[in-house]
């Protein structure tokens, strides 16, 4: 069994020591710090990129919030202006309406007064005409002059029933 050839032990141990220690020195001094720095650099880069992305998102959110605030303000302001204008116009319209209504009321009152006067005059005329007509009819029917006073009474009574 070659594993138990004792004369080969010393050279194997010497060369094992040489290669292992050499490899250890190369790894610990050069290779591993380099790999570690690359991996850490990558992790740092990813972390900083994520931070940057988070910061960008925060800025975006702020901008959106500012925009929405401005929008709400503008909307409120516009609403105010519109309300003011509407109030002003309503007041003006009301005032004009009141004026016109007052004028109209005056005109209506005047017209009603004149109608009433006309109506009274007409009614008075109707009585006279009725008396004359009634007198004429009675004269025609009876062949004699009608009693003026009696005709007037009868017309008045009839007019009251109308």
């Amino acid at each position: 069994m070659p594993q138990l050839a004792f004369e080969t032990f010393i050279p194997q141990l010497i060369w094992l020591a040489i290669s292992f220690i050499a490899l250890y020195l190369v790894m610990s001094r050069i290779a591993l710090p380099r790999i570690g720095s690359v991996i850490e650099g990558r992790a740092a880069r990813i972390a900083s990129d994520l931070d940057e992305a988070a910061a960008s998102k925060r800025r975006t959110d702020e901008a959106v919030a500012a925009y929405e605030k401005a929008l709400a303000e503008a909307r409120a302001k516009a609403h105010g202006i519109a309300q003011q204008t509407r109030d002003l116009l309503t007041a003006e319209t009301d005032r004009q309406r009141h004026e016109i209504e007052a004028k109209l009321a005056e005109k209506i009152a005047a017209a009603e007064a004149s109608i009433r006067k006309t109506k009274e005059a007409a009614l008075a005329n109707v009585r006279n005409v009725a008396i004359d007509v009634a007198g004429a009819i009675v004269t025609q029917l009876l062949g004699e002059d009608a009693d003026k006073a009696a005709t007037e009474r009868a017309v008045d009574t009839a007019l009251k029933q109308v």
Binding site: M1, P11, R45
Partner: protein
Amino acid sequence: MAAEEAASGAAHHGGGLAIDPMHQFRVETIFPIHFGNIDASFTNASLWMLIAAGLVTLLTIVGMGSRSLVPGRLQSVAELSYEFVSNMLRDNVGDAGKRFFPFVFTLFMFVLFCNMLGMMPYSFTVTSHIIVTFALASFIFIAVTILGFAVHGLHFFHFFVPKGVPVALLPLLVVIEVISYLTRPISLSVRLFANMMAGHTMLKVFAGFVIAMGWFGGFLPLAFMVAFTGLEILVAFLQAYVFAILTCIYLNDALHMH
């Protein structure tokens, strides 16, 4: 290792059937080096240790050459290995284990590459030699024990006294704990060495069957070998992982005492 080498092994021994499945484990001197009485000859084992170390260096340095933010293929593999070992260490030892990361990483990658390179035909499996795995395991054992005493002082002996156990049982349990602690380097090294050796021997034996059973019968062991090679690649990874994770657990014991 694969059939080609089995064939060469057969040729080496000069007979179609006389294949030595252990031939692949032979350490052959490539050029002799001597310091006085000490034999430091450059062997095939030395060569494959250097190749493994070189490939790990290549992967982690050339692979990371561009240091891209978005990694390419080689860089991905290098970073994946780094994070794999880093997570293993953090899960088992916690943040206190960070300073041992270079050691655990070197250990894992070295064992993994030695195991994987052993799967190549004509290669030599460094980790199939008990002396190599035992040297690694005893270094870990001694270092971890020193670390335990350095961190906890004599209090580290409490490690061998289980808590919440009847006093009558304590002498027995302490002996068991001490024995189990002392056998750690043996179990650690034998597990890796035996897995590597057994798997490769098995492959070689079946490779021998492929030749012995001829053109028609040989396909059956060949099919088995293909499947078994897949399993051996899994074992090569798994044993490197087990070796590294046990090292992490021992480190954790030394640092936190359970």
